[in-house]
Symmetry: C2
Subunit: 440 residues, 2 copies
């Protein structure tokens, strides 16, 4: 149904987020009804437009009576335009409310399936296309977008070239058990698990690059830290050694957190995030070797045999000892990737690093200095049973002008989860893909 | 082989692009040998570091004789560090050259396969990981990165939220003949052809969004305008109508061109691009309806029956009539997507738009106002034989708060090709994927 207004909508369209700049002016907001409450001759419409929510007060008699009644019984999430005078109001979120003098119902909604009562996660995920409208979900996606901008600005302003690695690859970079296979015109191809090797070719051409795009892992495990499709950021820097990579990772993460703190206060509030935890994320971050971490775990009664990887509880313990992210470096080669450079002072070790987020959010960065040595890599490819022909181009990077170089990979959704204080990374991407989960 | 310097390398590391800021200072450049020429007691090393190329002059006697001789016979693309005094030199690209007083060979290259002679495209594509180092290829990728930044800045600064659409989808958005199928834990899934429908859900939650990520088309045709994997930008705006979408598309394209002109002069020079062609790309762009375009073609002796789509030669003719991109709007529904809103003044027409680049670079933008009408879309889904169950979530967007909205899609590589003046879009993405082409 549509009920036309008897008064005229303002021709000045404003976004809710900017309303404080329009106090005492008459503006129009285009949005959706988030909630409606009536009290005698007043209607309190909560109107959201995607940038924020504003309370709009309608006094009976201001509008045509039919329209007033239609608004009063309008289902949530109906679309509408309201216009009126913006008034400063310190009690309101955003500091303003609107005194309505004209309104138009654009599209009356059917009974909205998401209500104030508790819904199961399965139900909400099945309605992900609508759940995005909820204030916490929308806040998470706005913070995600701010983090993406922060990442790109960090690299763009420092001379890195954005280099998009291919999604279709002939071979696995990080092990074959979690590969998605595609029918590529009758031949098998695989979806990328990491753009790093391509990033290395890019760094030899352009000096400093970053790959930023989707990556895929056919993870059969259902954990709160895994998605089958996620976004990964992978800088790669020619002439960088391990210490350079650690310094960059530290400055980079601190910059992201500081940008979100500067620009996303309303979103952090909507998420009830304890911002003091984020304000603590200032360089320098604690650094320790793998071997020191093993000793630290042992002293706390958590025995991990030297040469084995940490489990998530071990990482959680280590991260609980600091209110900043921690950098762990020089992991044993036994469980690290074939291309990592060995530590010249102990050949059992790689020149690798992981960064563990505080508050139990786990690993957010993994990286290393890469081996620049052709013979070593040829041996590694053979020992790891990798298909040599698929790696010839990668070996060319050592045949023609090899240089020390390194970089890291950061899983975007894990960082969004940590910064937002969200337990499950499935809420940190607009349309999560998991085992048995591909709709909507 | 490594020959250590007898003199010491400068501790100030500078990028070639920034050398003009270091005139009369002693700095170190870390890079690769692009070319070497000797003339009596002088060596002229062209050193590239990914940000640019600088001529480095070595005078015999300055360095150890062994090192001088090693540099003289050093293969191209060997990696090396040189340091010395930066001197202003108007004849040099970048306006500087370096007078070398110390050098170090980092990694001597094997005989480099790409030389100054003509190579076949097949050969260069097989060596894409090395071809990226060539000055035109590197310039193209730097312009690509600048365009990506320009796109994101355009939207980020105007209140759009970056919304990443999924790569795995249950159904086709743009027709089923060009879908890539993936084995998703035993069930078929498809790689996305467009994020638009997800962008629409995002616009209802966040007001204005843009999707920017890879998209896939199993194109069997080998043309210079097609890739199987490409990057697509898709803004979607709640409460926008066709004219709004056209205005945005025009301002957006003009902004990208103007940013590249401002920041990428060395790259445009390397590509020998006629920048006057780009300087002409200033709003307003010519606009015409599909029907007017048909008449224009007919007047030029190019008969296209009303109701049929234009071919590439028709678009090339239309674009040749203007030195700016042209906007064609209101195409017949017969060959346009199911979700487009019909023109209320003529139901045979959609409220659609295409933008055709100048100089024969073809369609770079396609978009429309979307239908906000539930019943119309239900009918369309049935008539187009689309799997209704997969579109229920999309129909929910009309059930719950439908609003006028619209947007467009832009193929990134086509815009890079046009701006760079590159004939084939395979050179406009770091690692192109085509029929029979997945290596490296």
């Amino acid at each position: 149904m549509t009920v036309e207004p008897t008064t005229t909508l303002s021709s000045t369209i404003a976004r809710v987020r900017d309303l404080a700049e329009h106090v005492a002016s008459n503006v129009r907001v285009q949005g959706w009804l988030s909630n409606c409450r009536s009290s005698g001759k007043l209607l309190f419409l909560q109107v959201r437009d995607g940038s924020g929510i504003v309370q709009c007060v309608v006094r009976k008699g201001t509008l045509d009576d039919d329209l007033f009644e239609a608004l009063k019984r309008l289902p949530n999430e109906s679309s509408l335009e309201v216009s009126g005078t913006v008034k400063a109001d310190e009690r309101s979120p955003g500091g303003v409310e609107m005194s309505v003098d004209a309104a138009r119902i654009v599209g009356e909604a059917a009974e909205y399936p998401i209500t104030n009562k508790e819904h199961s996660t399965g139900f909400l995920m099945q309605h992900r296309h609508l759940w995005l409208r909820s204030s916490k979900q929308a806040a998470t996606l706005r913070i995600r977008a701010r983090i993406i901008k922060s990442i790109r600005d960090y690299f763009d302003s420092r001379g890195y070239v954005c280099l998009d690695a291919p999604m279709f690859t002939p071979a696995a970079c990080e092990g074959t058990s979690t590969l998605f296979e595609v029918d590529y015109f009758g031949e098998p191809a695989y979806l990328t698990q990491s753009g790093q090797l391509y990033g290395e070719a890019g760094a030899m051409a352009l000096g400093k690059v970053y790959v930023f795009g989707p990556a895929f892992r056919a993870e059969k495990s259902k954990t709160r830290r895994h998605l089958t499709e996620f976004w990964m950021v992978e800088p790669e820097i020619a002439y960088a050694e391990l210490d350079d990579v650690m310094d960059i990772a530290e400055e980079y993460i601190a910059t992201i957190v500081s940008d979100v703190l500067a620009d996303c206060r309303p979103e952090l509030e909507a998420l009830e995030r304890d911002v003091s935890k984020l304000e603590a994320v200032v360089p320098p971050f604690p650094r320790m070797t793998y071997t020191e971490a093993i000793e630290k775990l042992g002293a706390a009664g958590r025995e991990v045999p030297w040469g084995e990887d940490f489990g998530a509880p071990d990482e959680d313990y280590l991260s609980s000892t600091s209110d900043k992210p921690i950098l762990i470096h020089r992991y044993p080669a036994s469980f690290k990737a074939f291309y990592m450079k060995r530590d010249p002072s102990d050949e059992r070790l790689t020149l690798s690093l992981d960064m563990i987020a505080p508050e139990g959010y786990g690993e957010i960065i993994g990286g290393s200095e890469r081996s620049a040595d052709l013979e070593f890599l040829e041996k590694q490819i053979a020992e790891h049973d990798l298909p040599r022909a698929d790696f010839e181009w990668y070996l060319d990077l050592r045949r023609y002008g090899t240089v020390p170089h390194g970089g890291f990979g950061m899983g975007l959704e894990r960082v969004v989860a940590w910064i937002c204080g969200t337990q499950h990374i499935r809420e940190c991407i607009p349309f999560p893909r998991m085992l048995n989960k591909i709709y909507p």
